[in-house]
């Protein structure tokens, strides 16, 4: 059977154009507004970040309560795994399929807001501002942009866990763990010396929040660029280099991720590790000999303020059901529902007054209770040191440059200058 060449070309063109239509990425309509006026109704797509496994019951009740409160609404809950969450968001956003309400962290909000995909809640829901802790509300402000781009949701901070047995073996006082960086560096060097480099005080190189806790100024006042190459930053990297050379940092510190440092702490080859109540539970089950020796202390800080991890809930500016989406995002983050969530898992509400609840102020005699009360106390003054514009790419840049300083391939100053230059470049193209 034969087909004329012209017909063949036409058929191919039709097939290919169908493919192009089918696979074309939806270009984003940037015409969304920041108004949430209108009737609260319709189907709201709500995306969480790896919460379905542990808290299915809590969220199903939350959704039922919302649908009962606002008849005519329906919430379609989507949960995404932790791994590759930013990639999933980016593919949804690029394809124009971003859900109406999305669980985000400040660094994820920044590119979405810049692309016109996150609603300015200062405009759309400013009336709720007074319900939240001031610092938490501001955590989703973005440099160079007016407004707030997500409701603050749960907060977290964590103490440092330390191994009293290893402290004792190294001749350190197990009841007096280091509180400032100077104390930490001294103790780390002593431990490395005593154990002949077999036991390291820390499992990883400093991340951006460590620079913050050390007292380094991370960004320029006007938010136009980074400044962690200032003398204090150089001093921090220089100190870490000394630790690395002495074996006071784990030998794989240059590549270790959080999971790996946790594993090393469990193996008792690393003496200090940040964590939270959930980790304590894990140590109890998986490393009972470590658990017998575990000490809990506030995170080492020169500023007196701990690091705060912030989660938020943003509303898609291009949502077709904005009034319902804003109402739902507020409902998820209101005081009552945040408190309910806090009772399910050790997180801390970002709503005013919630942290004064006896649930966060009275110890119940358990180690988990101790961690919870200590963390709740710390979170009142904690600071989110990670700038909202500090993307994953920037974290890799900082990590790799600091590693080069540790290896002696660059001086701390050269490494940080290079990191700042690269991060500034990424900031401009973000």
């Amino acid at each position: 059977m034969r087909m004329s060449r012209r017909r063949a070309v036409a058929a191919t063109a039709v097939a290919l154009s169908s493919v192009l239509v089918l696979t074309a990425c939806g270009s984003s309509d940037e015409g969304g507004s920041d108004s949430a006026e209108g009737k609260i109704e319709g189907t709201v797509d709500f995306q969480t970040w790896n919460l379905k496994t542990g808290f299915k019951g809590y969220f199903e009740k939350l959704i039922d309560d919302f649908e009962d409160k606002y008849p005519g609404t329906k919430v379609n809950w989507i949960d995404q795994p932790a791994e590759g969450y930013a990639d999933k968001l980016s593919s949804d956003a690029a394809a124009g399929n971003l859900p109406d309400v999305v669980n985000v962290s400040p660094d994820l909000v920044h590119p979405l807001a810049k692309a016109g995909l996150a609603m300015n809640l200062e405009k759309a829901a400013g009336k709720y501002r007074g319900e939240y802790l001031e610092g938490a509300w501001k955590s989703h402000e973005l440099p160079g942009m007016d407004g707030v781009y997500a409701f603050p949701w749960y907060l977290n901070t964590g103490p440092m866990f330390y191994n009293k047995g290893l402290f004792k073996d190294a001749g350190l006082d197990p009841e007096k763990p280091p509180k400032t960086y100077d104390e930490l560096f001294d103790a780390a060097l002593e431990m490395a010396d005593e154990s002949k480099g077999k036991i390291a005080m820390l499992g990883g190189i400093p991340a951006v929040e460590d620079f913050g806790r050390y007292g380094v100024k991370l960004m320029k006042e006007d938010g136009s660029g980074f400044s962690f190459n200032e003398p204090k930053g150089v001093e921090l990297v220089t100190q870490y280099k000394k630790l690395f050379d002495a074996g006071a940092l784990d030998s794989q510190a240059l590549t270790n991720q959080a999971e790996a440092t946790g594993r090393k702490f469990k193996q008792q080859s690393v003496a200090m590790n940040p964590g939270g109540a959930l980790d304590l539970e894990k140590y109890k089950k998986e490393a009972p000999s470590l658990y017998k020796n575990i000490g809990i202390t506030p995170a080492v800080s020169n500023t007196g303020k701990d690091n705060m991890y912030v989660m938020g809930v943003m509303v898609n500016k291009q949502s077709d059901v904005k009034p319902a989406a804003v109402a739902f995002a507020h409902f998820v983050t209101n005081a009552e529902n945040q408190m309910g969530f806090a009772k399910e898992v050790t997180i801390f509400p970002s709503t005013k007054g919630s942290l004064d609840d006896p649930f966060f102020t009275k110890e119940d005699g358990t180690d988990e209770g101790r961690v919870k009360v200590a963390s709740a106390k710390a979170i009142k003054t904690a600071v989110n040191y990670t700038p909202a514009v500090f993307s994953e790419q920037m974290k890799v840049v900082l990590r790799n440059e600091v590693a080069k300083a540790m290896q002696g391939k660059k001086s701390p100053k050269e490494a940080l200058d290079a990191a700042v230059a690269e991060c500034d470049k990424l900031l401009k193209t973000a």
Binding site: A15, S27, A86, A93, Q257, K264, R399, T429
Partner: protein, 328 residues
């Protein structure tokens, strides 16, 4: 199995084409066997396209379109959430001055050089071992093939635990009174460790290919060589190798493309940053690092992808050319 006369005729007509088929509109008379003819239409315009259509759609949508888009994007400053502007060859110029690109290129090439010879030779030796028909050999064939079907993530994690400075291998090393080997903290050893995992995981796959090739080597050739006094080594080089030479070329081509595009093993062992200071980053890892996420530089990552494609294509052409030369 014989087919019915009607089917046979229909097939013959279809094969012969329009000239062999009855004229359009001709009445279908009774078949010689007395059964009525089934009207067979062999000149339906567009029928082949109906069959080709789904395949073309899939290839066009999932291979051709992304490929063309990647090439186009490589000439723009496109980012994940921002449409790009045409920037000419700026991305390619930036590549030339980007240390990370050269590190990636060096590592990808090193990976290929380190892995391919092993993946050409070792599976052949393994295949010769398990090609023998002895009781229980199926168990060994399956055992050697198991890593191929195991998830690369699981394999990567297992090897990370094994090679950790407190892992099984280092425990044995220190048990012998030696110093720990920094498999995962020294950038060179880390790359070598990742190569080891790639070789270990790929052995079974290529072994199966060689097994099929070895099955076609005439037994008489070996017997004749043996009668002539050739030992095992001589028989290997004079009989086996020439007989499986084209398979070796195929394995070399497949493994070099795979090795040049390596991602998972290095990513799992060196971490998302690409090892200490990014020293173990490969080109495909660099594509992931720069082009993904909400702030990904899609245009720049596309330029790296195009370079990877060109090099891979070049490799394939080189191998094919070398093979053709040998054949002639």
């Amino acid at each position: 199995m014989s087919e019915s006369p009607v089917t046979d005729r229909a097939t013959a007509a279809a094969v012969a084409g329009p000239a062999a088929s009855p004229a359009k509109g001709a009445a279908a008379g009774p078949a010689p066997g007395g059964r009525p003819h089934r009207k067979v239409r062999t000149h339906l315009p567009g029928t082949p396209w109906l069959f080709l259509g789904p395949g073309l759609l899939i290839v066009g949508g999932f291979s051709l379109y992304p490929f063309v888009t990647t090439v186009v994007d490589s000439f723009t400053d496109r980012r994940t959430l921002v449409e790009g502007q045409y920037v000419g060859g700026a991305n390619y110029q930036e590549l030339i001055h980007d240390d990370k690109f050269w590190t990636g290129l060096r590592n990808s090439l090193l990976y290929m050089v380190g892995v391919v010879p092993l993946l050409v030779i070792l599976p052949l030796l393994l295949a010769m071992l398990v090609a023998r028909k002895i009781p229980g050999i199926a168990f060994f064939r399956s055992a050697f093939y198991t890593p191929v079907v195991a998830s690369v993530v699981v394999v990567g994690l297992i090897w990370v635990w094994l090679l950790d400075d407190r892992g099984l291998v280092n425990s044995m090393v220190t048990g012998l009174g030696l110093d720990r080997i920094p498999f995962l903290s020294d950038s060179t050893l880390l790359l070598v460790s990742a190569m080891l995992v790639t070789v270990w995981k790929g052995l079974g796959y290529y072994m199966i290919i060689y097994l099929a090739a070895l099955a076609n080597v005439p037994r008489e050739l070996h017997e004749a060589a043996a009668v002539d006094g050739a030992g095992a080594v001589r028989r290997f080089f004079t009989v086996t190798v020439p007989a499986v030479r084209s398979t070796m070329v195929l394995v070399g081509a497949l493994s070099s493309v795979a090795a040049f595009k390596v991602f998972s093993e290095v990513y799992l062992m060196a971490g998302p940053g690409g090892g200490p200071g990014g020293d173990d980053t490969t080109l495909v890892m660099l594509v992931k690092q720069t082009g993904t996420g909400l702030s990904g530089r899609v245009g720049y990552a596309s330029a790296i992808s195009v370079v990877v494609f060109v090099i891979t294509l070049g490799l394939m052409l080189l191998v094919l050319r070398a093979n053709r030369k040998e054949d002639s």
